[in-house]
Symmetry: none
DNA sequence: TTTTCGACGCAGCAATCGACGCAACTCGTA
DNA sequence: TACGAGTTGCGTCGATTGCTGCGTCGAAAA
């Protein structure tokens, strides 16, 4: 029975692509309804839909659309492996553009992630990130996958004043994935490291990445999150007495050096104060503040603090 | 008791449609008298009439007739509230107390959670919440534990202008725990429900609770998160074509009714628009917007949408 | 006799069609 | 480093298709 014949709009909505894209896929790659009379409406059978699902999944993994279409066209025969070889494709295929997010040379996985983000496909986004985190760890995933894609979205958002919903969805998914890593790694001992955003600073994702990296290394920490006023931060330091404090500032507007000075002025000042993020200006930092250049350096510094504390406790 | 058997003309007059339309609805959509011998006159029972009422109301609200018919055909008892202003009751008085520890009578678990929050003890916070979620489910945990504690912290924060770091830490932990529930329950099918905060609205926790409850029920959704401008929300709706949209507003300042009007004005408007949260004023909502009073009602409405759509996809 | 039945057809409207073009990303080349 | 060629997703435009409510007609039911 042809009772379940979906219209073009219904299929587009289900896949998360535009109706025009479906038409383009049909005439460019031959990925259309099996029975279609030119001029008449397209009616997609479940088999046609399955083929399109493959197309969407492969492009979501970063495969070039032309090649993904080649796989999808011979759908019932052989499904390509889930995690296909990244560099396995022939050099005749070029990557194109379309309405996507610039990821530069970050690789096909990043491209697939960007595509999924544009489609607001949170399931694919979450799965992609989780796979990468499990395979490569927090630091590599952050530097090689998450930061490029997030930067691409941010750039595009700044340029076109759109894409806000994409940015939010992506942030949520990244945050969830990082939190999942943190939860999967039980930490030992009391938290001696305090993570906090600067006052009015809304971007906490890099700090969450650091938190996940710390958890991955078995270091326990305390995470305060975004938009922490100086008074609240000082209060938290007084209350918990951390050995190291990481203060994140994403933009220059939130990077008031007085916040760092306030940290150094508490009764029992932390051993180490890290000013992290691109907001801080190196020439205006108070003495005694360290400014890590990237996630890896911040992580190694924090781990060093933990080790030195262990050492002193043992000796 | 077939005491009330209405003829076709009587039903047509009562509904305000032509008699021929009733016949058309019968043979095109199967919306007719439950017992009808071809060639003989149609006799409509009250149950049949109720089904037709739903059909008429939905089409009157702009729903596509074929889809409205699918909804009406399998209308069990879960008909959505017909009118927005069914009672102007001001959603009861919430847990009143809250002078010392604003947890009120939420129970010892809530008191322990509040204490852990004051200590910035994220480990205990996370474990407490996770246990409660596993034991009682999302809805009960939200209403009985999380909402009271969060409300207490918020009240206290508003009163003393302190406790910001506690509030942030608690929010993060709750968010993580809810996300963990969502990840633990794989959902099937494409997401047809869109969750979003109103413009400038920063509180997304209740929406995340709804998301977790949906996941717990096996309903897939799309979560945009906090601070979604109207343009971005409309863009997302156009792109993904959801069947239901939930727009959360926590305070009156973020509850501009024009945002709801914008949702209803998109080319293919959602079947159901929910204005959730205490920000909305019942008397200023556009027609066709439903306002759930609590998490449970929002959940049941969303589930009803899912069921109706499943039916239509299968039929 | 009055009302309804099934069948057929028609006009309005939303969705879709094919064609075309634009903007943006990648990559090879100079 | 800059630039042109190759790709690709999707917006736009005028025309077409298909759904929908309802009027009409001869026959049958009440």
């Amino acid at each position: 029975m042809a009772d379940e014949a979906l219209s073009a709009g219904a299929v587009a909505r289900r896949l998360g692509v535009a109706v025009t894209t479906l038409r383009t896929w049909h005439q460019r790659y031959g990925l259309g309804p099996s029975e279609h009379v030119p001029g008449h409406h397209r009616r997609y059978t479940p088999a046609d839909l399955a083929r399109l699902e493959i197309m969407r999944r492969l492009t979501g993994e970063g495969v070039a659309p032309a090649e993904a279409a080649r796989w999808a066209r011979q759908a019932p025969a052989v499904l390509p492996p889930d995690r296909l070889g990244l560099k396995a494709r022939t050099s005749t295929v070029r990557d194109g553009g379309g309405t996507t997010i610039p990821v530069g040379r970050a690789g096909p996985v990043a491209r697939g992630l960007a595509r999924a983000a544009m489609r607001l496909d949170s399931v694919t986004i979450g799965r992609t990130i989780a796979d990468a985190l499990a395979a490569d760890g927090v630091v590599a995933t952050w530097e090689g996958l998450l930061r490029p894609v997030l930067a691409g979205i941010g750039e595009r958002h700044a340029a076109t004043a759109g894409l806000i919903e994409v940015e939010h969805l992506m942030s949520r998914c990244v945050s969830e994935a990082l939190a999942s890593v943190a939860r999967a790694h039980p930490t030992t001992g009391p938290p001696r490291i305090l993570l906090s955003c600067a006052d009015e600073e809304q971007h906490s994702l890099p700090l969450e990445a650091l938190a996940a990296a710390l958890a991955e290394s078995g270091v326990s920490y305390r995470m305060l999150g975004a938009r922490v006023p100086v008074a609240a931060l000082v209060e938290a330091i007084n209350r918990t007495g951390p050995a190291a404090v990481v203060l994140w500032s994403h933009t220059r507007a939130t990077a008031g050096p007085h916040q760092l000075s306030a940290l150094l002025a508490v009764p029992r000042r932390p051993l180490l104060v890290l000013a992290a993020g691109p907001g801080w200006r190196a020439d205006s930092l108070p003495a005694g503040v360290v400014r890590p250049v990237d996630l890896a350096e911040a992580l190694s510094l924090a781990v060093a603090v933990r080790d030195s504390l262990d050492q002193s406790a043992a000796g």
